[in-house]
Every structure is written in C-alpha cells, then in structure tokens.
Symmetry: C2
Amino acid sequence: MAVSSDTLNRGGWKVKGPEEINQVVREASPALFDALSDLGRRVAYPPDIPFQGAQARGKTYNGTIGQITDGRGAAVSLPSMSKVMAGLGSDDLSRAFLYSPVAGIEEVRERWRDWQRRGQPESKPSTLPQVTNGLAHGLSIVADLFAGEGTPLAVPRPFWGNYRQTFVVRRGATLLTAPVYVDGRFNPGAIAEALADRPKGRPAVAILNLPTNPSGYSPTAEERRELAQSLTGMAEKGPLVVVCDDAYAGLVFEDDIPRESMFWDLVGQHENLIPVKIDGATKEFSFFGGRVGFLTFAQPPDSDIATALDSKVKCLVRATVGSPVAASQMVLLQALRQVDIAKEVEAVRVLLQERYSILKEALTRVDGSLLRPLPFNSGCFALIELPAELGLEAEPVRQHLLEHHDTGVVAIAPNYIRIAFCSVAPAALGELVRRVEMAVSELAR
Amino acid sequence: MAVSSDTLNRGGWKVKGPEEINQVVREASPALFDALSDLGRRVAYPPDIPFQGAQARGKTYNGTIGQITDGRGAAVSLPSMSKVMAGLGSDDLSRAFLYSPVAGIEEVRERWRDWQRRGQPESKPSTLPQVTNGLAHGLSIVADLFAGEGTPLAVPRPFWGNYRQTFVVRRGATLLTAPVYVDGRFNPGAIAEALADRPKGRPAVAILNLPTNPSGYSPTAEERRELAQSLTGMAEKGPLVVVCDDAYAGLVFEDDIPRESMFWDLVGQHENLIPVKIDGATKEFSFFGGRVGFLTFAQPPDSDIATALDSKVKCLVRATVGSPVAASQMVLLQALRQVDIAKEVEAVRVLLQERYSILKEALTRVDGSLLRPLPFNSGCFALIELPAELGLEAEPVRQHLLEHHDTGVVAIAPNYIRIAFCSVAPAALGELVRRVEMAVSELAR
C-alpha cells in the first residue's frame, strides 16, 4: 500500500507544510523563492518527534524523547566516556551527551551570532545561525536548497575540489568557471565571466571562498568594491545565490587587507542578490575534529522568512544527520563564553602569520622559470603555478616529491602545487620550497 | 566555460573512477550493482586533498593538509577548549581536535567491529565499519546509494518518521508499508506484504528496525526465523537491500528474546539479499550528543567489493559532511578500549529494564476500552493504540495532555501514543500512564 506524504504526517497538526512555507518565502523574497531547487521547495520541518519533544519541554511528565536520561533530564553516560569531558560543569556535561536541538544549542547560536557580527552595524540583518556538522554540511544543505539538475554554479578556479562532489555529483549542478588569477593578479570578475552566458532570469549559484582555498588570497579594499559591484550587476540578470564560504575567516596576514566577510558587503545590495554565510569553528577556532559549522541568511532573525528558511534547513539537517553534534558545541561554547576569546583566536593567527612571512620570503627567492608563486596574503595556503612553457603537469611533480624527496604537497590539475603552510613547522618551510623547486627542475630537464 | 568531471579530477591520477569501481561491484555482486541508484553509480572517492594527504602521511616535509598544527602533527587548539577534554591523554587530545580520516579513525573502526561481532562466527563476513555522523547520516548515505525516484521502500508501520525525510523527501523513493502488528501480535510478514506488488527483478529497499521505534518490540526466535525466511523469499523476486537500523541494539528486557542484530541472520542467505548494518554509539553507548554512527556491509573486509563500496561511501561522506566528528570518536574510543566495557553498557540496560518492568506492570492495569497497549519487550518505547471504536485520533489526545495534564507524549497518526520510558523516572511512570488514560477518557465522552 502506498502512503501519501500528507496522510501520516500532517494529520491533525497545527504546523505549516511546504506549500504554506513556500508562500511565506515567495511573499518576502520572490527571488529567493525562484532560486529554490525542487528539493528546496519540497522541504519543511515535519511535526514529528523532535517537534513534539520541543513542545513538551518543561512538562512534569515528559515521555516524548528517545534518549536515556536519569528521569530528571540529565544524561546517563558511561563513566569511561563522561570522565573524558570532566572539564565541563555537570549541566554542560549532560548537554554534551544529550541530543542537540536540530537547529543547534540556543546559547551557541546566539554567541556565534555575536562573534560573526562584531563590528557590523545593526542595520545589516542576519538570521540566528543554524548549526551544521562542519562547513561542508552547510554547503551540502545550500546545494540541496538551491541547486538542481543543470543549475548554473559559478566557481572561480582553481577551487576546493569538494564543491564538485557537493554540488555537481550529488545535485547535478552545471559547473561554470573562470580563472581567479589573470596575469598573476586576482580577478574580481571571475564569477561574472563564468556566468556570462546565463539566460536572463535563470537563477544561479556562485561560490565566494575568501580567503581562498587553494590560493590563500583575500582581495584588497578596491578589489572588494569591484567584486561586489560585479555581483550586483549579475543580479540584474536574475536571482543569484552567493555562498560566502568563510572557512578561513580572519586568517589575514597583511595589515592593509580587510578581514571581514564579504557577506556583509552583499547584504541588502539587490533584491536578486541572495548572500548565504557558511562559517564555523573548524578553522576560525582551530577545532577541525569538532564539526561545528553555521549557516546564516541575510534576513532579520525574527522575520517570517527567517522562520520559513529555518524550517527548510531543519528538515534537511534532520534528513541528513539527525541533529548536530552536541559534544563539540559544548566544547566550543566554553570558548565563546570567554570575554577575551579574541585573544586566543588572535594567537593562532599570529602563529600562522609567522609561517606566512617565512614562506613568502622563501618564495621570492625561487627560480621563476621553474615555479611561479601566485599572490597570497591570507588563509592556510600558498599556490604555485608551474610555468606553461615547462609542459609539466602538477601530478607527476607530486608523485616525484613523494617518491624521491620525502615531501608531500597537493597537486591541483592541470599545473598547480598547493602548500599548506598551516601544518608545516616554520623551520621546514624553506627546505620544503627548495625540494619542490628541485623536483620541478629534475622533471623539466 | 563548462568543465567536465574528468578534466580537473582524474587527469594524471592513478585511482579508480566510478566506471572501474562499478565494474568491480558488478563482478562481485550483480544484485548489489543492480540495486545502486543513479547517484550510487556516479560516486567514487576522488583523488583530491584528503586522498593526497593520506598518501603523504609520514613524510618529513608534509604540506598537504589544511589544518593548523604545531608543525609536528599535533593540534594547535584554543586553551579554553582543549582544557574541557583534559581527560584525554595528549595524543588522543590532539586527535580529537584534528580532522578524522573520512572513513573514520582506524582504531575506532576496528574496535567497533570487534564490538559488533562479539559472539558471531568468523564465517559471517562484515566490512570494517565506516564512521558516519550518527545513525541518521548512515541512513541518508544508504538512501543516496540505493534509493532514487520511485524506488520501492518497504517500512513496517508505524515507523520512525525520519525515514520519510531521508528516503522519500530527499531521494524520491516510493513508500510502501504494512502493519507491524496484526491482531495485537508482531507481523513477521510486514515487509513481504508491503512489497507484494513489486515487479519481478525491480530492486527494492526494506528497513528492519529492531528493537523497533516507536513500538519497542524485538521478535522471538521463532518470529526471527519467519522474518528471515520471508526476506529470503522476497529476494527471489529481485535485489533486496535490507537496512538493519540497529539503533537500539542490545536494549532487550526479556530473557527469552534474542539480542543480536538480524543482520547476522541475513548475511550470506541469498545472492539477491543485501543486508546493510547501521548502528552506533548514540543509544548503544548512551552518547546521543556525540553523533558517532557506523555503516557496515556484509562483505569480507579486504575484498575488492568492500574497497569499492568504501570508495562510494567516502565520496558521499565527504560530499555531505566533509569528515566525521573526531572529538566524539575519541570520547567513544576511551570506552571501547576498556576490557570490561560490556559492564558499563549492561548497567544502562539494567536501568532501563527497571523502568520497562514498572511500565509493563502499569499498562496491564489500564482500561482496555480506552488504551490498548501493544506488545513490547525492548528498546526505549511502549506504543499504545487508541481503540478504533473510540474514533479518537492521537494528536488531540497529545494536545489535551500538554494543555490540561502537564504531560508530554508523542502522537503517531492516526491513533498511536508513544511513551519513551527511557527518559522518565521510574516513580513517574505509573502517574504518566494514569494521565494518558484520563485524557482519553475525557475526550472519549
């Protein structure tokens, strides 16, 4: 017997289904509604167990939630596991072992919002961020919401390869690309070039990953203005979702380069321009193993459309991972509660800045006929182009470095070598560069 | 400019692409290949950064991975965060803050495999489990691999509502269902009934959630035999993926009810029968906030097909969440390393068993014309049917309990009330049942 989606789910429940939620989105932002994928239109948070559990919170007799507690709401954890996290107070410890709300732990979301918005004026709206399982999960939810078969996806190249898995392999988007560097300089028009042939009115998605991976670049103030202008211009042609992948936010090593997210430059700039902010603790708080990411829209937190988007995102979080990691959120929360947390974050930036300076210096001394370092000023990486005239691909260079020089780098097709200085000791950077140069020289003969 | 998937990704790399991997699957198990969805056929782990990073492990000069380390491989964590997990030794602490391998931390996978297989003979093959972000993530990966538009999905009802989001809303599967209880008794033929009209040869997916949510039931030895026979019979008609959702594994409260997963009963029973095991620390180790799940196939761990499936699952893990949570894996690992961990797990079972006995006793005393408790013997829940002759739906009863009786329960359409005794104090269970009975009596007048 086949059962329709409505039979079991929405019976006597007083909640908004997808049609009502879509209506809210459409009224508040026709462009955002147009940009939703088929899946994005289908999803709405269902009135099932977490929904009913949330309604029962605080009741004296509460038999809603399928998690093991002591009967008074506290976790029953295995002693060999809870003692690991003994640095948490007993309430926090309990919350680390129990389910997180599907949208994330409220205090974490509020404190992260304060962190994101430091220095930003009240006038720029942003939703209460929703917690995801790392930034990649935020990206995959954005892909579910806005990308379907054939959706134009603009990504400056070279780019982080996982965009392909998330948007193209999983969701069928059509990848369009243009070079992020032209003549050795950052190209603020890359996204516009990639989308040049977009039919008028056709919604598109663009990814803005600044500081960049793999090229470790953040635009200057002037380049940012050009970039914002170019995106606003593109929005004239139809809805444009701009995914600000702020993984490396704040890791900027030159004083004259702006550090804040481009998200804030795009908020409210054009009705067709839909910025979405993806950020999190992975790099910003050096918590790679924690998988705490956040997804934020450019809407006022209590608006109807924010609630509608919240419902869609929660449905996708539940459908993909059930709920976000409570344990890692509670670890992160200890940092967010520190008044002077910016100092701890700054200490990591300063550590990387030292390596950055050493690597930059080492790269100025390489033979330009073998290695052509591209400009970098931020993030975790430097990118080196192998001069076209050598006719060398990056992959054999990488293999040669592994086999003969006890050295690992990342090869990016066709002819780029990425050096992650974030995981190399300062004293080793010079030698690493020397070995890359040597390998190229050996293969180029 | 549009870029094909092969241009950037597979250039000079010596790795298997999707076509080669599909060939391996097809040769080892034509049925499993037939059961793969379009997306399942497209995915293969790409040779990008984590792949290249894994190859560079142990090199003296390693600039592959974009995570911040001290340059000798140890994490650089914020003091306010690392002190929370001070219960870990320094190596483990570092691993908690760094990226997990995409398939999970090797020692965790191996120890979990030992835990899963306790009491099982060598002759039953199972892969090295892959770590997922909780069991829901394992289910969503199985949905990606095996369910597409119109794939028949058999789920005995009532069922955990999230199967709908994961398989139907996200992937377009067609939900087919049949009652798990008939005349107040467990129905081992529910899946066969749900799939009765399946065209011969059409691959299908079935979900076997034992102990059940929401009905807290595990089959007797005789019912298990009937169930296994029925599934093997169904496999005669075409490939059948049986997803063993073992969320509540081990939580069995009657001595004569088998405790082991049905997965082991299905391994190797028929070439068309494809059992997949989804389990994890959430309930089995009472670590709800940790989000550590595992996905296991019924193949020998070093077989070519195991490697091929590993590649597909890793691609989907990377595309959806990047990598699993290292912090929670390290917490779980402390438990898995204990020689007598079974004692800690058993203590939680005994705690629930006490509540189970009290609730069972309380339910024997209810007025059968108001509440019809269904048989239960395991898991975290009891399910109560509202007698059809009352003409009452569950949802108004739930609302009435919230509003007038300070009591929260879960309503499952059309006429079921679920009580989660896992989160209710023993002393409160009798009163909770009394209030549910009272609410029904008030509304039934």
